[in-house]
Symmetry: C2
Subunit: 353 residues, 2 copies
């Protein structure tokens, strides 16, 4: 058996999969139906729980288990220190956003995010086979809780330094997040995101050579060719986000789904316009509005853009929508997620020795 | 035979190769000895002739033929309109450079580059099997001259739009230049370079699906894994630059060679500091000096930085050196180029079905 197939086989055995394909835990696009379809086709479902209440996390896990006994991961962002406040700058951002949509809300003093400790409790109570972090590590005490329960931990990394930190902290696998990826960059230091844009051709072998835990490649992987190429570079599995966005189960806004099909790689941009953290999405009026004005820090910018994003969603208006997209967007297929998962792995297997 | 192997076989037959590996025509690092070693191992040699006189081009080709009857390409940059002059800004750039090295020369009125028409004449007279362009297309009359002589044309592309333009203009193959690549970005419009940074995972399949001419992948490909992955994504061959920089035949400044071995992907930056056109190299004092001041346009910045670069080279001082490097730099091996070429292809073949 080839080295790549051996890596896949070991990964699938450890993570309870029949195909080495993880559906990315996309915070705005991971409904139960998508996860169930992926898991029942042998891949790993993913829940992006960042903005969910404990009850919503519990509800998702119950819903998933009603449809599948397959594998799933629940993802949270490692928390940041509270954002630095700058009322004058926030007023500028608010004025800029008012040119694009309804008046942004007053920010007040927060909290601006769901209670992280309560989310973590809900995650443990849901007993997922896998949890994952992006933007940083779990605290050691929480890692101990995971280990005690036999829950595996996958940690996102954008550099080898981050991946090594994850391995040292007890991660069971790392995501190698290539610069091609859609959605948020996972750099542990928010300000470093722009300087840590490494393509998968350089990132995957670098991590695979240095780590003893498996590497999961993510970013720009859209079909069997991409999966086989990532495994050839040294990955043990792949994580796909944009590739699943046009599946009917995802229920994406039609303008976003159509935008993906039409998006050349160079139509995507890295922007802090929507959340205050760097992310890749389709360039539009909202991203351009923050080329000449720095957005507020995360998560203030996310709170401030909520009315615009809500209105854009209702109006199906791509020009102001938070339309995350990786550089391979145009290769995403509008296909049921189970069929897609099975087809992708069959295509990839045919390309491997 | 697998599709990837069939593509390779057809490419090698058409371009006269035994291995689908092109040594990138690096303008500052393509001595005869390197090309001879690569070609005699079955790959394609490359001469970056941008800054060479007609006599130097002729001399390189004669030297190459004395050592090898293999394949080689001669590369030129498609010429730009004359740079826009801004004496006040040029004075700022000159003052900034004077903090890093000797006083920059007065620019005068030019010309700032060798005579392009005379270079083209010398290229035709050298009758290389292959010519290549970066930064744009050949003029139709010159393409006709190439076709009349049976000289093949490879054109660098950073987007599908550029690749389609190349195919329509008569190119026989395109380079898919990924964002991972070291050295200059080849975007046809200089100002667009920052917006056309597409990773190979997205770029190679996009070009391979849309074109009828072969795609050669470049950027971050450092070993057999990278070569096999690129071929799996749809490429017919690969072009490697950074991977050959530490070969003894290249004769790189020792500080640059050591810098490659030590460079993490995130230690490289995209900068206009050395030439005025965007390029990836090792971050240093010179690149940082132009984070807060825009460099002069190409090729004025190149002329202005000549004393600094010359002094840095003599002093073996990486802090001011133009040290081009792709994101895979640390994987470059200090190994004779013929051994490297043969080893890379053997490693890649073992990973292909």
């Amino acid at each position: 058996m080839s080295l790549a197939r051996t890596r896949v086989q070991e990964f699938c055995a450890r993570f309870g999969l029949r195909a080495p394909i993880l559906q990315a835990p996309m915070a705005s696009a991971s409904p139960v139906a998508l996860g169930v379809a992926v898991a029942n086709a042998g891949g790993m479902a993913g829940l992006g729980a960042l903005q969910m209440s404990p009850a919503e996390i519990t509800g998702w896990a119950e819903g998933f288990r009603a449809g599948s006994n397959g594998a799933f991961q629940i993802n949270l962002w490692a928390p940041d220190p509270p954002p630095r406040r700058d009322p004058a700058h926030e007023a500028q951002v608010r004025a800029r956003l008012a040119t694009l949509g309804p008046e942004p809300p007053p920010l007040g003093d927060g909290p601006f995010l769901p209670d992280f400790a309560a989310q973590c409790e809900a995650v443990l109570a849901a007993r997922p086979p896998v949890v994952s972090t992006i933007m940083g590590l779990w605290a050691p005490e929480f890692v101990a809780e995971l280990k005690a329960r036999g829950i595996l931990w996958i940690c996102n990394a954008t550099t080898l330094a981050e991946a090594r930190a994850a391995e040292a902290a007890g991660a069971d696998a790392v995501i190698a997040q290539g610069a091609e990826a859609g959605g948020h960059r996972g750099s542990f230091t928010p300000e470093a995101a722009e300087a840590q844009l490494i393509g998968l051709f350089a990132l995957v072998p670098r991590l695979a050579d240095a780590l003893s835990i498996p590497v999961i490649a993510a970013g720009g992987i859209m079909d069997g060719r991409g999966i086989a190429a990532a495994l050839t570079l040294g990955a043990s599995a792949v994580q796909l986000g944009t590739a699943f966005l046009r599946c009917p189960e995802t229920g994406l806004a039609p303008a976003w789904a159509d935008g993906l099909a039409a998006a050349a790689p160079e139509d995507t941009v890295l922007t802090r316009a929507f959340s205050g953290r760097l992310a890749r999405g389709i360039a539009n009026d909202a991203t351009r509005a923050f080329e000449s004005l720095a957005p507020a820090p995360y998560p203030l910018q996310r709170v401030l853009t909520t009315p615009m994003r809500t209105e854009a969603g209702k109006a199906n208006d791509l020009s102001r929508m938070q339309a995350w997209a990786g550089q391979g967007a145009a290769m995403a297929r509008a296909e049921p997620a189970a069929d897609l998962t099975r087809r992708l792995w069959a295509e990839a297997e045919a390309l491997l020795p």
